[in-house]
């Protein structure tokens, strides 16, 4: 066995398939790559971090390729928009890599604190950005609940404001049917790339940005993001495979679960009430954020900002992992519950129960 590749027993294989399934369900349902769950999950099984990342990004590449092909068939991919965003996203990735590398090197002379600066930085960015996303989703949910036009479509306030500014050059994107200033694309692209490079969740920013800032229809935003992910994934897969870190067995095991999970997750989006989707998504994200926040004291201690017994690190790590798995597993179970219920209801023909009332006898 090659040193950095793990021996895969039946039990490990089953757990990787399960991780893939949960990641797939979450990915299909909330639209993220599911990497936020699968990568730490694989590391928890004893797989080297770099192998986990490499195998996961390779898995994501193939998945994005098949997914974007399907979206493309449905007319949901704006390739021109993807090229513009990709061009600027690469710049953002480079900025992220530069900052992370600087912080990683900066901690090199501190013994135990090696990489702590980078870890703290990544955790803070992760917690800040995802908290903002989850809170804005929850606020949106509370604001629109009870309103008649709830679910009437995403807000166009930012899009309309930017359209009024009319910053030239303005580019027309045929498939998405939107006109966007090149400067706005640059900012969004760099931000997406920066977040993808820093915390690996570019889609969390890319998709909402395309919807709310560019005014792109939701389906086109998701399809275009997947198309982008395919190129980013291909680049990542090539790089890691060249370095010899891709464990193709892990990639294949992840597929067994994830492709099944994705179908269920996507089906869930079709049949589950949009409010429930937003609620479940935001709660899963908040639990992930909590998991990361719990790990922050460890980095602070390693940087000598906080002082406590290093033996406590085990408990912080365990709690962090618990919340990560709790978010993934409970989110997956909730989604599956709604999917099964909706499937059952559909089978019984009576789909959307609007009113059920016992008539009042005179």
């Amino acid at each position: 066995m090659i040193v950095h590749f793990l021996h895969i027993s039946m039990s490990t294989a089953f757990q990787v398939v399960l991780l893939g399934f949960i990641g797939g369900v979450l990915s299909g349902f909330i639209g993220s790559g599911g990497a936020f769950f699968m990568t730490p999950g694989m590391m928890n099984l004893g797989i080297e971090g770099v192998v986990a990342v490499a195998s996961n990004i390779t898995h994501k590449f193939g998945k994005a390729m098949v997914g974007s092909h399907k979206h493309s068939e449905a007319g949901n991919v704006d390739k021109k928009l993807a090229v513009f965003v990709l061009g600027t996203a690469i710049l953002g990735i480079q900025i992220a890599v530069w900052i992370t590398s600087m912080l990683f090197k900066g901690g090199a002379g501190h013994g135990m604190a090696k990489g702590a600066g980078a870890n703290l930085y990544i955790s803070v960015v992760f917690a800040t950005i995802l908290t903002a996303v989850a809170i804005s989703m929850l606020r949106d949910l509370i604001k629109t609940s009870g309103q008649e036009n709830a679910g009437a479509g995403p807000s166009r306030k930012i899009t309309d404001f930017l359209a009024k500014l009319n910053l030239p050059p303005v580019i027309y994107f045929k498939v998405a049917d939107v006109k966007v200033s090149l400067w706005v694309i640059l900012i969004v692209g760099v931000a997406t790339g920066y977040l993808a490079g820093t915390i690996g969740v570019g889609g969390f920013i890319g998709v909402p940005a395309m919807i709310y800032v560019f005014g792109v229809p939701t389906a086109v935003a998701a399809g275009t993001e997947l198309y982008l992910a395919m190129f980013m994934g291909a680049y990542g897969a090539l790089s890691y495979a060249y370095q010899g870190f891709v464990d193709i067995r892990l990639t294949m095991l992840l597929y067994i679960g994830s492709l099944l999970g994705i179908y269920l997750g996507v089906y869930g989006v079709k049949v589950v009430n949009e409010k429930v989707i937003r609620l479940v998504t935001s709660l899963i994200i908040l639990l992930c954020v909590l998991s990361r926040i719990i790990a922050i004291p460890i980095y602070l201690r390693q940087l000598d900002i906080l002082s406590f017994d290093p033996a406590w690190d085990v408990y912080f790590n365990a709690a962090s992992k618990f919340f990560l798995f709790a978010s993934g597993i409970s989110g997956c179970l909730v989604i599956l519950f709604f999917v099964m219920r909706a499937y059952h209801q559909r089978r019984q023909i009576h789909k959307t129960l609007q009113v059920e009332r016992v008539p009042v006898r005179p």
Binding site: V66, A74, D247, R249, Q354
Partner: protein, 507 residues
Amino acid sequence: MPIIMISSVAHCSAEKLAEDLGRKTGWPTLSRRELADQAHTQGIKLGRIETSIIKKPISNESLAREKDIYLAYITAAICEKARDGNLIYEGRAGHLLLPGVRHRLRVGLMAPKGVRIEKAIADLNLPREKVSSYLDQIDEDFEKWVHYVHRAEWKDPGRFDFFINLQTISLSHASDLLVSIASLPDYCTTVETRQAMENHHLTAKAKLRLSTDDRTRRANFWVRAVDGVVTVTYMPGQKGIDHAIIEVLEQLEGCNKVQCTMAETNVLWAQERFHGIDDNFHHITQIAQRWGAAVELLQIAPPSELACDECIAATANEVRNPSADSGKAAYTGGVEDDGPEVSRHDNGLDKVMEELVSIGRSGGGKTIYGGSEEIIEAIKDTTNCSLIVLGDIFLDKGHEARKRQARELALNIRERFKIPVVTSDEIQSRFFFGPRQALKLMTFALAVLCIYAAAFTYQDVILNFLGGPMHQNVKVISAICVVLFVPLVAYLYGTVTGLLFKLVGVD
């Protein structure tokens, strides 16, 4: 004891048989003629339905609704009269009423033409030479009626329990025979058959209320009652009607609960000529059933057919929209004899719409005159559409040109509206699991199994190639292999999972 349903063509002495049976059994009798008179007094336009079917054998949504009201009325009346368990009903096609009620004895009555001619002469005082052709004509009208109202053939023997030919047997003996058959245990009332009757009764009453109340009468809905629970399914175009439905059905006797369900989405079916219940109809209604969708029809007619006065005056693409809120302008199907004659190009639209209404899946329909641009304009008005099915269009073009233009139109619609578009040829492969899909599933599953078996059997060699000592010499080849191999696995396994989900109806 049973309900005896006697069906016969005209001038067969069915009413005499019913009377005789009533006398011998003491059971209440009811005839279609009585019900027709009562229906007329209740404002049900039975005459218009008959005139429309006989004079102009075409149907439309408005006519289909009137037919439903009529059927609901006679069903409710029969159930009401048969409350104590027994009834003798005599009518045109009584044997086709109350399906599923096992204690009804379905009797067909036929007499030789000579006997019928004598009866008709006596009944109508017609000259003998005219009676024969008169009987032929009313038999033809009768068959049209049964075919339209019940969507069945009157002569289908599978729908009768007993058939009497009066050529040799007398009416009195025939009624004796029926009395003895009716006493057989096979036709006894049971709890189950009573419940079936009550369900029919409640369904019919709910339909009648909804069809006659101003708040709900224009809506398309499908009603079913089971054990006191009335379920009403309506279409997305009538969003918000649920409260009106509840109000209308409140205090309906026998109704314990009302459930209103709305179809979630629309499937738009665009075609030049509709061919009734064909494969496309079955496929599309199955998809609608699976998705909880309504089917909206879009008939495309060449601009040259834009000939009727109304169309020209309107100078609009849309000539007719018989959806719920367009009652004023709805085409009448020639029902009103006094109204102006309206020429139009039906091409099977009404027949299909009628079928959709009957299964509770009609999302309305309209005809547009023109080509691709007009179709795209019409699609703009479609709300909440999840799928567009392009059936036979551009029929005036050659085969190749037709396929190319349909493909271009599909692409154009997809790009402009971001709605999945399929041609009718693709429905089977895209949404249903047929033999081709089964073969594909097996082939791909076998390929996936082979790949996985190979990967895990020779894992040491593979890992050596990907990250071991061998990798140091073949880094570029290794990276390229990974990037080519992974999408292949994703595609093969993705297809297998997709087909499996299609097999279980999750899409």
